[in-house]
Amino acid sequence: MHWFSSLTTFFQVLVNGVFLGCMYGVAAIGLSLIFGCMQIIFIAQGAVMILAAYCIFWMVTFTPLSAFWGFLFIIPVFVGFGFAMYTGLFQRVAKTGKNPSLLLAFGLMVLLEHVMAFVFSSDYRTVQTKYASTALGIKGVTFSVNRIIVAVVAVAATALVFLFLKKTILGKAVRAVSEDMDAAALLGIRPEWVSAVTFSIGISLAGVAGVATSVIFPFDPYFGFIFSLKALIAVAFGGLGSVGGALLGGVILGVLESMSAYTIGGGWADAVAYAAFLIVLVFRPEGLLGRSSAEKA
């Protein structure tokens, strides 16, 4: 256990944590949306992210485009991918109950991981961008340009999803279905259609998180699972089903990990994160920012 040597070090660790947390946050928003609408914990989120990261890897390898152009095609492609996954698989299974859905998500995760390992090999891949070594500094605290771009994208994605939910008629339908599926169906909203839309958005957010992952971390086909877990923890921090809470939960988790890695040691950061997760689940299952269940009812 050692403490921060200076204020600059403290801020540097804090900034690193916030940037790390933004990535957890994007993955967590997708997870939270899917949970809110369909009550499914989509544990394959991380595997989908890694699939997007591979897309970026091959794009950068075979074309002269920079990695961030990937957002342009990843978002529509993954919306389609999510739509196909929902109509092909989850729509059918969702009717039989929650446990089969959880299991299906797990099966999909393992399937994606192994197919990627078979097709792309299990080697670590990295994506280089021309800003990789560029950094801005403010009073000794450095900000890598890559991470700034990722953070901006995270905030933009959250804002877009938030606006979609609050300002569009479809977003209103999504919120209605999350609150009470039967009542929404009575008012003429088709829950399957709304679920398909939500699922597609969730998957495309996983794609966005995947693009961000590819430029920051070296990855292999199995790297996604830990991200699924981290996204789950972030969702639990923010409250299951809340969008703004998910991003904030991700940032809290990132800062917690970064701080504990610095003060206690890198190996323990995960244990601290899981312990915090258990504590939140037991004492504030509605999330740190969520309304209590009494207020909801």
Partner: protein, 331 residues
Amino acid sequence: MAVKLVSGKTGWAIGLIFLAFFVIYPFLVDAEKSYLVYFLYTTFIYVALAQGWNLAGGYTGQVSLGQHAFFGAGCYVTAILWKVKAIGYLDPVGMILSGICATVLAILVGLLLLSKLRGDYFALGTLGLGEILHVVAINGGHVTEGPMGISLPSYAYVSMVYYYFIALAIVLVTLALVLLMTRSSTGLALVAIRENEVAAAANGVAVLKYKVIAFAAGAFVTGLCGSLNAYYTFHVDSAGAFDLDWVIIPILMTILGGAGTFLGPILGAFILSGIFELANVLMPQLHPIFSAAFIVLVTLFLPDGLMRYVTGRKEGILRKLPFFRAISGGA
């Protein structure tokens, strides 16, 4: 219970015939080289793990994703005790101690989590527990020997037959435990909790007590399996002991066979082990892909499990097969 599975003499007779075969078979062949003996050994472990999950997950409806915590705890307790020479090779005391440690862990965590959390939250909480123990094992210093894990004296190995019969004994203990629990008022309480927790509580069922009992009994069996696995592999490391396969494969087997039934997990374990082994022999490279695709197919087409089709909860072709009619007591 809604469906009576092994009713009357037919079911018991078939069970005893299988048992007699399992007891005699290793003496008929060279157990060290026999593929079937190895296959049955692994399948026995999976039967016990699947039934262990079935108690809380199937009968009581409390889905735990943290069975690897209990399996890994069993592995590590045995490995550490053996390392410091507190117990010996294939020591029953050590195995039972491992099981008890897993049970105590389950009771502590169960009281904490089950009193507060329901459904998905409980599943997530138990998953978190497994991952915490995983990290603790990596960072345990000289007690757990870090990520490299504990190597055990493999010269102690005597014969595959020992492992085979210990695994068979664990299965029998497990099945006896499940029968005892489900054929008594405990079983009624467990199913009542699964079907409607609030109504069960209103009718005087001590919900938390029974949930914890089911969870802890499953953990005991899982801890036993972990202990035997430590003796079998002679090497315990964090990645192997806390592998998520120890959670997912037993759950899949239970769901394939029929969660909340007695025969379901047994049937599921044999079928799935068989398919995995077959895939491993026929196409070793594609084996994981094939297994994962199988998980997806099972959840798509058999979400209620084989047993429910057999026993008439769902109409199906299987019901018409004489073998299935016999084991389900002509239901």
